[in-house]
């Protein structure tokens, strides 16, 4: 399976992002990894480089509950971007609230909803899905 060029994690849980990045290395998930601790950080990074598809991530793993700008608010900004590149967004959250899952279904930009913890198999599945599309 072809490894991704750039992956992006947006999650305020620093232990989680550390462990997940470790796992990604193990399964050879991506060449480059971007980590942001809330939505606003990510938006601030992405906005100036929208014109340069080669430096935009292929996959975004997005947490929902975050300070300052949460996953939903990030998505609301993100969908406004006109991007010349296919970016796959996965929700990665601890929420089992049906309201969150129902809300996620209304966003076309979201490909899947993963509930934490994330296993190596989950990462493999993501990789497969992205390379297929």
């Amino acid at each position: 399976m072809k490894k991704l060029d750039i992956a992006c994690i947006i999650d305020d849980d620093k232990i989680f992002t550390y462990v997940l990045s470790k796992q990604m290395k193990v399964v050879d998930f991506c060449e480059n990894l971007l980590v942001f601790h809330n939505g606003l950080e990510a938006i601030k990074y992405l906005k100036p480089i929208l014109e340069s598809p080669e430096v935009l991530p292929d996959v975004i793993l997005l947490d929902l509950n975050m300070p300052i700008m949460d996953g939903w608010q990030f998505l609301d900004e993100f969908v406004k971007f006109k991007v010349n590149k296919k970016i796959t967004v996965y929700i990665v959250s601890s929420s089992i609230d049906v309201a969150d899952h129902a809300k996620a279904a209304t966003y076309k930009a979201i490909s899947s909803f993963y509930i934490k913890p994330i296993s190596r198999q989950d990462l493999a599945n993501m990789l497969e899905q992205v390379s297929l599309s």
Binding site: F16, S95, I96
Partner: protein
């Protein structure tokens, strides 16, 4: 003898009596002037016996009478109709007597009177009597002639068929025997007053018994016939069958009584409204619902009643009325508050229907009711309130379950992933690093659990933990606790709390709420300006409101408003922020049955408003 003749000549003209004499031997005739008047002949004329008898329409009868007198010598009298030579019809009475000499009749004489006027009077009387009998016998209503003692003297067919007796049976009884005992005294007393000339006639409704025993209601009209001396002769009674009318009246009365009872038992007030003049008729209950005696509502116009309606409910009430008037709705129905005499507001249901319209489809008459629904409405509102509390609690429980699930899952997920990584890690340094993370994660989990415990504790407290607290005192105690950190940032405190305001609250919660909110003022102050904290309390009806306002950096409520009081929600890049303070405050306020809201302008400051129930 001479004198007697003189008297005779004087009296004869008085009686207008015709006197005649015929000598049968000599043929000599004597007629006085009245004979000539009756026969209408000239002053010197005589008629022969034969000519005279020709004047009588029944000539034979007249001749026969005279022949009989002549042959028997007995005086005779007869009444005859005659036609004079001038063609006038007359009735006359003729008397004839005879003189006999040697067994032979020599002379006849007599008198002749014009009785035309008497006869026609009698004839007229007879005709009238005949007519009366016809009317009496065939009258469609019952008629009877009754003796002054009450005996039936004569009854007509209608009366016979009404009471089921034939005439012979009637005549053996008195009216008293046929009359219902309850009605007899009144009838008899009327009768005596009639006999005593106190009244000219009387009418009454009374009951007779039919021959087969059932009751008959009749309308009786009685007059008394007296003789010329004014002595009572008999009663004439007219009897009309009113059983049917009486029955329908009785049914109507029963119906009305039943309706009255229903209205009474339903406790509704009723009203009738002339929409065009605004005049109304209200029953007693209508006034009683609002605590009034009917006499107390002087100007009984609908306007008076409409003014009882709560100002906030008038618009909807008139809108409903209008719908009915425009025929959009068949009935007018409205629940509204109306002013009771004692000044309180009473929940009332008003219903009505227009029952009369004019030609232009404008309402003329409307009928309706007032029903006191205060108890139902109050219960409804209490139920609604309880429902709100319960669904609020349910919502919070569900929310809490999600919080618990989410927060525990975050930590356990990390632990699971770390353990997995440790198992696969070969480098000792990395393993150690991850072990350390496991320790941090475990202590985070511990902290989360203790936060959740705090929340559970908040909701497990109930009414029993409430104490009467003086808000003024509590605010100053809190400021004392925070005095050091307030002094550090050189904060200006403005307190406007009435020393008389007391609330029933859990002391620990009040302290927590005040500490959290004021600490937030310090945490999120704008370092470019001096911090102002304004604490204000006032009463809004039964509710005590506390407002804590700062001039800090503010919160973007458009962005964060919906999760302002959520757990672990932080909104600023502030290392102190734990996302637990406002969450606890909200839970504490909710648990005490109050409300908390925030308003904020980014860069200007924030106000938290708490309602203590």
């Amino acid at each position: 003898m001479h004198k007697k003749l003189e008297l005779y000549e004087k009296v004869t003209p008085l009686a207008q009596l015709g006197i005649w004499q015929r000598n049968l031997i000599t043929g000599e005739i004597y007629w006085n002037e009245y004979i000539r008047d009756i026969y209408e002949v000239g002053p010197e004329d005589y008629l022969t016996l034969n000519d005279a008898s020709e004047s009588y329409l029944d000539k034979e009868a007249a001749c026969e009478m005279i022949e009989y007198a002549i042959s028997t010598g007995q005086p005779q009298v007869g009444e005859f109709k005659m036609l004079t030579v001038k063609g006038t019809f007359k009735w006359v009475r003729m008397r004839v007597n005879t003189t006999f000499e040697d067994d032979q009749c020599t002379e006849i004489y007599g008198t002749l009177e014009d009785i035309t006027s008497q006869v026609s009077m009698i004839r007229a009387l007879e005709e009238r009597e005949e007519k009366f009998h016809q009317a009496f016998d065939h009258a469609p209503i019952g008629m009877a002639i009754v003796s002054t003692e009450g005996h039936w003297i004569k009854v007509n067919n209608s009366l016979c068929s009404l009471l089921g007796y034939d005439e012979d049976e009637f005549l053996k009884h008195t009216f008293q025997e046929f009359t219902h005992p309850d009605d007899l005294d009144i009838d008899l007393s009327y009768m005596h007053r009639l006999l005593n000339k106190e009244i000219p006639s009387y009418n009454m409704e009374k009951r007779y018994f039919h021959k087969d025993g059932h009751q008959i209601w009749i309308y009786l009209s009685v007059t008394l016939v007296r003789d010329t001396d004014g002595l009572p002769l008999y009663f004439i009674s007219q009897i009309k069958d009113i059983t049917e009318r009486k029955r329908s009246t009785e049914i109507l009365l029963q119906e009305r009584q039943r309706l009255d009872n229903i209205i009474k038992s339903t406790q509704v007030g009723t009203w009738e409204w002339n929409v065009q003049t605004d005049e109304t008729i209200h029953n007693k209950r209508s006034a009683a619902i609002f605590g009034y005696h009917p006499n107390e509502i002087v100007a009984n116009m609908m306007n008076t009643w409409h003014n009882f309606i709560h100002p906030d409910d008038r618009e909807i009430n008139f809108a409903e009325l209008e719908k009915c008037f425009k025929k959009q709705e068949k009935f007018y129905a409205c629940e509204c508050r109306m002013m009771h005499k004692n000044g309180s507001w009473l929940w009332v249901e008003i219903r009505g229907k227009v029952i009369k319209w004019d030609d232009n489809n404008n309402p003329i008459l409307m009928l309706g009711t007032y029903a006191d629904i205060h108890q139902r409405k109050t219960m409804e509102q209490e139920r609604k309130k309880a429902m709100e509390v319960i669904s609020g609690q349910n919502g919070r429980l569900l929310n809490f379950a999600h919080i618990v699930s989410h927060n525990l899952r975050s930590h356990t997920g990390n632990i699971q992933m770390l353990l997995d990584m440790i198992n696969h890690e070969t480098e000792e340094d990395e393993k150690q690093k991850m072990m350390q993370m496991l320790v941090i994660n475990t202590s985070n989990l511990q902290q989360t659990l203790s936060h959740l415990n705090e929340v559970v504790d908040v909701h497990s407290k109930g009414e029993y933990s409430k104490k009467i607290l003086n808000l003024h005192k509590e605010v100053y105690r809190m400021l004392e606790v925070l005095s050091q950190s307030l002094r550090q940032v050189n904060a200006i405190k403005i307190v406007e709390v009435d020393p008389d305001i007391n609330i029933q609250y859990d002391p620990a919660y009040l302290e927590s709420i005040l500490l959290n909110l004021v600490t937030n003022c310090v945490k999120y102050r704008d370092t470019d300006r001096q911090l102002h904290i304004h604490i204000k309390a006032y009463k809004e009806g039964n509710i005590v409101v506390l407002e804590i306002t700062d001039n800090g950096i503010g919160i973007d409520l458009k962005l964060h408003g919906h999760k302002l009081f959520g757990m672990y929600k932080t909104f600023h890049d502030n290392n102190d922020a734990r996302g637990i303070g406002l969450f606890l405050v909200k839970n504490q306020v909710d648990a005490m049955g109050g409300k908390i809201e925030a308003s904020s302008v980014l860069g200007q400051g924030t106000t938290f408003r708490i309602e203590f129930s």
